[in-house]
Amino acid sequence: MTETVKRPPFDPELEAVLTLLSDQVPMSITPEMIPLMRQAAPAPGVGVDDALTAAGIVRRDVTIPGHDGDEIEVSVLSRQDRTGVGPGIYYTHGGGMIMGDRFVGLDLLLGWIDDFDAVVVTVEYRLAPEFPDPYPVRDCYAGLVWTAEHAAELGIDPDRLIIAGGSAGGGLAAGTALIARDESGPALAGQVLVYPMLDDRDQTVSTTQIDGVGVWDRGSNRTGWSALLGDRRGTDDVSVYAAPARATDLSGLPPAFIDCGSAEVFRDEDVAYASALWAAGVQAELHVWPGGFHGFDIMAPHTVLARSMRAARDSWIERTLGI
């Protein structure tokens, strides 16, 4: 294999993990592979209840109105013996807009529920390509509205409600925050954008660097965006809510936390989003972990880089929620 494009090297510990994963994950996900990838993933919720029980967390599933009033599901997660009112975290899961369910990234949520005594609401937004834009981001926004409206009943302090999501979920969280600003929706105390997928235009340096290498490469990313936007991908006919990197006005948004790896497709769009937030006078914290591939904190949680990434993220949430 010849490599002509220069890219930052992977961190050695993460590269070692890549050698183990290489026979498990296809390098590039093509549109034809979407059904197969969904099949290969564990069925929705499998193993979830065991993990929740072990962590002393209770789950309540609620059917709520999604985009256009269609029914969608959310799960409310909190510590079993929780009482009173506390911080709330509204969660939008990852999966490239095309796969995954509301329990993807559960490990992350368990820590937040336990350490911060937070109530988590995680939303089962509908997936592309069956439900293209605006379904995913509008479902996410509908879930946020429901959460804010039911804050008292859920035990959430409305002044301490943040939104969080990883990967495609990070992009959806950013898009949801933009809608909330523009439509005078629920006030958010912060947005946690974990290696967010923000830009459909496929024009950054990092997307050319991570092509046929690493995790969630350029080809996979095009597959995800094409599923979401169809022929509109890369054209002028894409809303800022679908692809927040296109937003020219980021003023009035809640404080943001953004992180990513230096060896992933999303690096440049994530760094650019942080810069644009600062330019608009919004507070933002940005971490670019050297040699990190996409999602390394979840796939290689034992590595020193993954542990540092999580610690930095948790520290920001702690400060933002005033814990």
């Binding site: 183990l20 994963l21 994950v25 796939m299």
Partner: protein, 371 residues
């Protein structure tokens, strides 16, 4: 993508996953990590706590990557029954309770090796300089500066030996314990290659074979500032060396054709002995797997290859029959049959050349690893 594979977990306790273990530690050592990362790796792969005592200090890491305190009793020694190995000035182990897993021994072996390599590197050995000297991508000026640090003469000729890095349990540090005798000061380092970790040792120009114990490959002699070429040919020789598991006939190839001076897996294979064949093998390696003569040999079982080796090497079919313990008329029939199957007679002059080259290329194709 995390939605599909979830998080990385321990290896299958029942199935042997040797290659994964080797690859994992090779990448770590090649990337220049420290002791803690090695312990995290061993803990992850085994699914239990991994520990080390080095220089009187105890280090432990769990499969979640978190450091664990040293045991309260101050015990610097692993429990009896835990898989464990000595390292230079200490020990490493994994804290396996109950039934051992299939990969435990391999994990501890590679951990021990990696700990020695990493610590040797951190102890100020001139290994970094030697790495530069052997690296073809470095400028000549840069290599000359490194040569000076190693007190090697850029104009004098040297030969580089390549040894599997796994050689020498606890002995990565001094040349004397890495399988090189008579050259206590010989500069030595471990290099990450596409075929795994390899120990490189710089030898004098002549009589070097006697200084190295196999398995090893010895490169062609080159002036100090052209040692990347010597290392390249040493690596090739290491991969071309006869292997015990590829049939006893390899001994015949090694001994009788003068292409090596020992027949077992501990062979020292000298690139200089290959002469023009070395250049041919180098040039053909990228297309070796598609060569019909190589493909034909690859299809044969070990015993048939052994018969061919002997037929090609021996003075007569009768002599080959004696070595193989076969009746000579039986071997004669076999010889005729093999000649038909291969499309050439491995005992004719051109047939021997074809067979020899195909046989060497097959070794590169079949076993890419140097260790």
């Amino acid at each position: 993508m995390q939605e599909l594979v979830g998080r990385l977990t321990a290896l299958d306790p029942e199935a042997s996953e040797t290659l994964k273990v080797v690859a994992y530690f090779d990448v770590l050592v090649g990337g220049g990590v420290g002791l803690q990362a090695l312990l995290r790796g061993a803990a992850l792969l085994s699914g239990t706590v991994a520990g080390a005592v080095v220089a009187g200090r105890t280090h432990r890491a769990g499969p979640d990557g978190a450091r664990r305190e040293a045991p309260a009793d101050g015990g610097a020694d692993p429990h009896e029954g835990w898989p464990s190995r000595p390292v230079d000035g200490g020990r490493v182990w994994i804290e396996r309770e109950g039934r051992p897993h299939a990969n435990d021994d391999m994990v501890v072996e590679r951990l021990a090796l990696a700990v020695d390599l990493v610590r040797a590197r951190h102890d100020g050995e001139p290994a970094g300089s030697l790495g530069v000297v052997l690296d073809a991508t470095r400028e000549v000026a840069e290599r000359r500066t490194a040569l000076a640090r190693l007190r090697l003469d850029p104009a004098r000729e040297y030969r580089v030996a390549a040894l599997p890095a796994s050689r020498g349990e606890a002995g990565a540090r001094s040349a004397g314990r890495s399988g090189v005798a008579g050259a206590p000061g010989a500069p030595s380092t471990v290099v990450a290659t596409p075929y795994g970790l390899v120990r490189a040792v710089v030898l004098g120009r002549a009589g070097s074979e006697a200084e190295v114990f196999g398995p090893a490959g010895i490169g062609v002699a080159r002036p100090g500032d052209q040692l990347p070429e010597s290392f390249r040919t040493a690596l090739l020789a290491l991969r071309l060396r006869p292997r015990r598991d590829s049939g006893r006939g390899d001994q015949g190839l090694g001994n009788n054709t003068g292409l090596g001076n020992a027949g077992h897996d501990d062979a020292v294979f000298d690139a200089a002995d290959l002469g023009v064949t070395l250049a041919a093998v180098s040039a053909l390696e990228p297309v070796a797997a598609q060569q019909p003569d190589v493909v034909a040999l690859a299809r044969l079982d070990a015993r048939t290859r052994a018969v061919l080796d002997e037929l090609a090497a021996a003075e007569s079919v009768r002599a080959a029959a004696t070595v193989l313990g076969m009746h000579h008329s039986t071997l004669q029939v076999r010889h005729d049959h093999l000649t038909t199957e291969l499309g050439y007679d491995p005992r004719s002059l051109p047939g021997r050349a074809r067979f020899l080259l195909a046989r060497l290329l097959l070794r590169l194709v079949e076993d890419g690893s140097a260790g």
